[in-house]
């Protein structure tokens, strides 16, 4: 029996974020706005593009555009700061000190048991539900309908090599290593 503690790691949050299309749309938009600002102020040297100038000139259209762009830009970066994985994990651990998430690999299923704020969740997942398994130096990632990242230093019982052998036995065509 192999048992792994699925603690909240910033790396895990990064992995999950990188699979979210909304995250990539937000990143594209923010980078686009940043490039526009840098281009205008440092390359085009268009210092007149400031909000004060357009208020002085009385161009309501540009005042609206610049104000809303500023709001989006600032709100986007505030949101990015709150969602920044190390900070998010720190907030999570502070809010849920009793959190535990343990996965146990059995013969037919792997069982995930989560305790959080008095809520107990018990999930049994057969090996046939595994879409793919990836491996690198630091972790083994199992992709079902969600991504489960198992870090090499969080094994409570068993070793990464044993898990690898088990996964190769149970779902040989899904292992990408």
């Amino acid at each position: 029996m192999i048992q792994v503690d699925l603690k909240k790691y910033p790396q895990k949050v990064w992995n999950r974020l990188s699979r979210s299309p909304v995250f990539w749309v937000a990143v594209t938009t923010q980078i686009g706005i940043l490039i526009c600002i840098v281009y205008n102020y440092f390359i085009k040297k268009d210092y007149l593009g400031s909000l004060e100038y357009y208020i002085f000139v009385g161009d309501i259209r540009m005042v609206f555009v610049l104000s809303v762009t500023f709001i989006i830009f600032v709100a986007g970066y505030a949101f990015a700061f709150l969602m920044f994985p190390p900070f998010k994990v720190w907030r999570f651990n502070r809010k849920h000190p009793d959190f535990s998430d343990i996965i146990t690999f059995g013969d037919e299923y792997f069982v995930r048991e989560i305790h959080k704020n008095g809520v107990v969740s018990h999930n049994e997942c057969p090996y046939s539900s595994v879409h793919s398994v990836y491996k690198n130096d630091k972790n083994i990632a199992i992709l079902t309908d969600r991504m489960i990242t198992l870090f090499n230093d969080s094994y409570l019982n068993g070793t990464p090599a044993e898990l690898e052998a088990l996964l190769k036995e149970k779902c040989p065509d899904k292992c990408k290593f």
Binding site: V65, G76, V120, H122, N123, S129, T144
Partner: protein, 184 residues
């Protein structure tokens, strides 16, 4: 013991969507961005003005404002609407029905806790939720909405065991001041 079959159909997904704060933040962000881009596009550097100004494709490709306008059009009028359309409840419920035809989600309300049994594609999940985790309960015309970390909307026609009146009285007993009666 009250048992409810919680189907993830279009109406349930709509209620969940409407009560999801993150969705409204995303929509507010999109509406602001769309307003800015629309105002910009009406000006002299907008796509329409750029197309009229340049009489040949060669001139158009040399015009820097053309690329900026195309980028804004793609992000605001193509990329965001695609994301919004793909996550609409009718499409989501169709996706669930297609990829998880055996999806079953049952809530059991007993004296101590709420038990939630979910099974699909061979996976089984059992979740025990204490009544203390309920943030609020609201009675609506045709449903009871229980706000946990997410909204659970139980329609009056989804009961396997028990009735809406029994669930109401149980929740009133367990949640006390968190219970709010809405339209009846």
């Amino acid at each position: 013991m009250i048992q409810v079959n919680y189907k993830l159909d279009t109406r349930t997904l709509w209620v969940r969507r409407m009560l999801n704060t993150k969705y409204w933040i995303f929509m507010a962000f999109y509406i602001l961005l769309a307003a800015v881009v629309t105002v910009l596009e009406m000006g002299s550097t907008g796509l329409a003005a750029t197309l009229i100004k340049n009489d040949s494709i060669k001139n158009l490709l040399q015009d820097k404002s053309f690329y900026g306008s195309v980028f804004l059009w793609l992000v605001v009028y193509v990329l965001f609407p695609i994301v919004i359309i793909l996550t609409l409840p009718p499409l989501q419920s169709r996706k669930i029905a297609k990829y998880s035809p055996d999806y079953v989600n049952i809530f059991v309300f007993d004296e101590e806790k709420i038990a939630n049994e979910i099974s699909y594609n061979g996976q089984k999940t059992h979740i025990d939720i204490p009544y203390t985790n309920i943030k609020s309960v609201k009675r609506r015309k045709d449903s009871i909405i229980i706000m946990l970390k997410y909204a659970v909307c139980i329609f009056d026609d989804a009961y396997i065991n028990g009735s809406p009146a029994e669930l109401e009285s149980l929740l009133k007993e367990k949640c006390g001041n968190k219970y709010r009666s809405g339209r009846s």
